[in-house]
Symmetry: C2
Subunit: 344 residues, 2 copies
């Protein structure tokens, strides 16, 4: 495999000159430049080895994505909301001609310690120490969906405001009897929180979900309702049976507040199965926007969690060095066909 030294020898110049032909062609005489180029061609030399170049001044031109928690690479591509987020990152990559690297780092197995990238975007982390390797490597990094204090850049959406938007929308339509579908933190069986018990953070999954709950509570309180009286079903985001459970435990609810989109869509499916007409007999609001939400029947009203925009911003933070940035994006309610006034 030819090296720069071989090219230099063949062309009868020094390594430095050969190097200059590739790195600073303008400072080398045209005649010499051509001689070196010919030698390179003859030897099948492709240009400076990126590996060696890297060692000298470490720009890789790639951005590393660390999927949340126990997820592998394929999980992150499969999850529709995360997929939207990746699309946002990808757009910025395309603008900058950078590569997108998805790094599996389950149980901190060293992916972050050894990945060849210019910076990291940590998908929703559970403990800040997951980012330690990035900090120690002095590489820029951003954490998603949580505020990690004043020293760490973060990008998230105001989930509390999002929850508020969703619940207020239903209240304005006239709903008074709700059901809430929240997330479990990690694995575990679906849980039912009956009405009448105060709601602590354990009734929702990650920090961002707990904020949604606070938002719901706020809007309910404005209408004189107590969230403690609202039944909550807490399940995995992809658990299809959870929708059935929700309808079983809250048969008189006229509206369902769901913390996920897929959960919301699953609720629409379950309602159809039971011949409950949405939105006539039941209104459903999801959380996060994905193309499937617009295509479901009926189209799902949902809070846009701005996944793609979060991705774009996070990527830009990595590539534009600067002070710590803590972005809090406002959510947006997308009103579609799954919500309406409750039936008399």
């Amino acid at each position: 495999m030819p090296t720069l030294r071989d090219v230099a020898n063949k062309a009868g110049v020094s390594r430095s000159t050969a190097s200059n032909v590739f790195a600073h062609p303008e400072i080398v005489r045209a005649e010499v430049r051509e001689r070196v180029a010919e030698a390179a061609l003859a030897l099948g030399y492709l240009g400076p080895d990126p590996k060696a170049k890297l060692l000298r001044h470490g720009k890789v031109n790639a951005i590393g994505i660390v999927p949340p928690g126990e997820w592998g690479v394929s999980d992150s591509l499969r999850n529709p909301v995360y997929h939207q987020f990746l699309l946002g990152v990808a757009e910025t990559c395309d603008e900058l001609g950078a590569s997108l690297v998805i790094i599996p780092d389950r149980n901190g197995n060293g992916g972050v310690r050894t990945a060849l990238v210019d910076g990291f975007i940590f998908g929703r982390i559970e403990h800040l120490h997951e980012t330690e390797p990035a900090r120690l490597r002095r590489l820029p990094y951003v954490v998603m969906d949580v505020d990690a204090g004043p020293d760490v850049s973060s990008v998230r959406v105001d989930s509390r405001a999002g929850g508020y938007l969703a619940a207020r929308h239903l209240i304005e339509l006239g709903h008074r009897r709700f059901g809430i579908m929240s997330f479990l933190r990690g694995f575990g069986p679906t849980r039912y929180h009956p009405p009448g018990v105060p709601r602590g953070p354990e009734a929702a999954g990650m920090a961002t979900d707990q904020e949604k709950l606070l938002g719901y509570a706020e809007a309910l309180a404005e209408a004189g309702l107590d969230i403690a009286d609202v039944p909550i079903v807490q399940a995995q985001p992809w658990d299809g049976d959870a929708a059935a459970m929700m309808l079983d435990v809250a048969p008189d609810a006229t509206a369902i507040l769901s913390m996920g989109v897929m959960q919301g869509i699953a609720m629409l499916d379950e309602a159809r199965r039971r011949e409950i007409s949405v939105p006539r007999d039941l209104s459903v609001v999801g959380f996060n926007e994905i193309p499937e939400a617009a295509k479901s029947t009926p189209a799902l009203t949902t809070v846009d969690g701005k996944a793609a925009e979060k991705g774009r911003i996070a990527a830009r933070i990595i590539f534009e060095p600067g002070p710590v940035r803590r972005e809090l994006l406002p959510p947006r309610l997308i009103m579609r066909a799954s919500t309406a006034q409750p039936r008399r």
Copy 2:
């Protein structure tokens, strides 16, 4: 930023010993090992710099995906069939703990020349020379969807067999009047190929699409039909208007053979719009399998192009060095609700 040399100094040992503590801990005395580990901890040294390590013996533990043609990173995430393929690659990455790198290399701008990966998977290429940088770098690579001769590994599905399967299915159901929706190669306006003119390769897009056409022709010929008599609409995969054109130019067709899934789904939508009942008045067969195909109404009968499996195999070829492998996977017909006997 501490280096291995700093750690060695602080611990009072040589660089080599310090290096051994990380690379071959078993050959260094326990006492010394601990002293070095402490020094490392004290300095915040995280372990050998991956960049330097790389230079010495270049394993990166990452696999590079080069999206087809003019696509950027985001296009490749957005395209649903390519997304399935990426999922397959990702699964193998997870098995091996490797990273997945999506490399934008539009108009050969050097992405492949400089990417830090262990090998490349080229999404459908147009000319073999797109792979030259990979060959010159002596990195393993695979091309998808085309046979690139005996010296280059390739993974593809037998498109001709797939086309045959689709067309024969419709013929066995009793259909005799067809319409074909094919792809344009590159950009350009939707094209209509009226019946009665011989069909050359220009009636379909890439090589793989031309093979589908041959498969259709073969099955039709067995039923005594000439593909030259079948109207063809050639459009972009995502062109919604193409379905309308197809129905306009072939109002008496009882079955549509579509070279793409999204095209097939678009056809279902257009039929619904025109109140043509599928499959009662019109049968539709797509090509390639994605989750959306099962969820459309009616669920789309389609040929499984094994995108995910192609991805798994391609990734394995990269990581298991060996002789050139040329994989040709058999397609499979997934019968769903969009095909039925034609109405009397």
